[in-house]
Amino acid sequence: MNEAQPMRTLMRHVRGLGPARSGTYHFWYQRVTSVAGIPLTIGLLLIIIALLGRTHAAVVQILGSPIVAIIMLLFIINIAYHMWIGMQEIILDYVHDDKWKLLSLMANTFFVFGVALASVYALLKLSFGV
């Protein structure tokens, strides 16, 4: 065993102050969702072009078709995660007061879940009818 390398985990690592191998988690997922967001955004724009000027009945039919619905669902889920990380980054940069920081981080989570769930619900309802 290496004498210079104690078996105990350093206290600062436990507290998340040092290289606990978790610091790049959000950085990485912001990149993953960025890359996924490129084809999905192009897909969304093409779908919107296809829907322009159509009647409600036609819009419902197109949005409810499998390929379109799946692209839209992937778009909203991917973008929700991207939005959540991005807004958290902004809050941590500018809001320094602990109370407001916690409240805005919480509001960020509520907002993202609300928007994402509403969109997903609407898409599923369009897909499965009722």
Binding site: M11, R12, I49, L52, G53, H56, I76, G86, M87, L123
Partner: protein, 142 residues
């Protein structure tokens, strides 16, 4: 000994000078586009409410959808959607620029200026193309 470090050691260093911020530097294109990337991100974030409203209305029925169509077809609605299209495309191209930078390429003075200029010109061009195609699909402005 590192194991016994506590928060106490940092307490004495609280009133250190802070680093200079935006207002002290001469504005550059890359710096402006960095700020714009963040602002478009914030705008897109709140703009997703429109996206959710549109989908919910479509799922709710013809009357609800007519309300969305009325708003999006109005002058204000079109202005918001035009801005939203640009923000989306600009944020996407800016994101691609950042992904290129993540690979440690494109940092030379000329390269980074070109990349930044390309995102700006690209986003404006793509937005105009999208809207021209959109109007063509709908058979001209209604």
């Amino acid at each position: 000994m590192a194991e016994f470090e506590t928060g106490m050691t940092t307490r004495a260093a609280r009133s250190r000078p802070i680093s200079p911020h935006l207002q002290i530097y001469k504005p550059t294109l890359t710096m402006m586009m960095s700020i714009v990337h963040r602002i478009t991100g914030i705008a897109l974030y709140f703009g997703m409410l429109l996206f959710a409203w549109w989908l919910l209305a479509a799922a709710s029925g013809a009357n609800a959808y007519a309300n969305v169509e009325w708003f999006m077809g109005s002058f204000i609605g079109r202005l918001v959607l035009f801005g939203y299209t640009w923000a989306l495309l600009h944020h996407m191209l800016g994101g691609i620029r950042h992904l290129i930078w993540d690979t440690i390429h494109g940092f030379e003075p000329v390269e980074r200026e070109l990349l930044t200029l390309a995102t700006l010109i690209g986003s404006v061009t793509l937005t105009l193309i999208f809207w021209v195609v959109g109007y063509l699909v709908m058979g001209g402005p209604r």
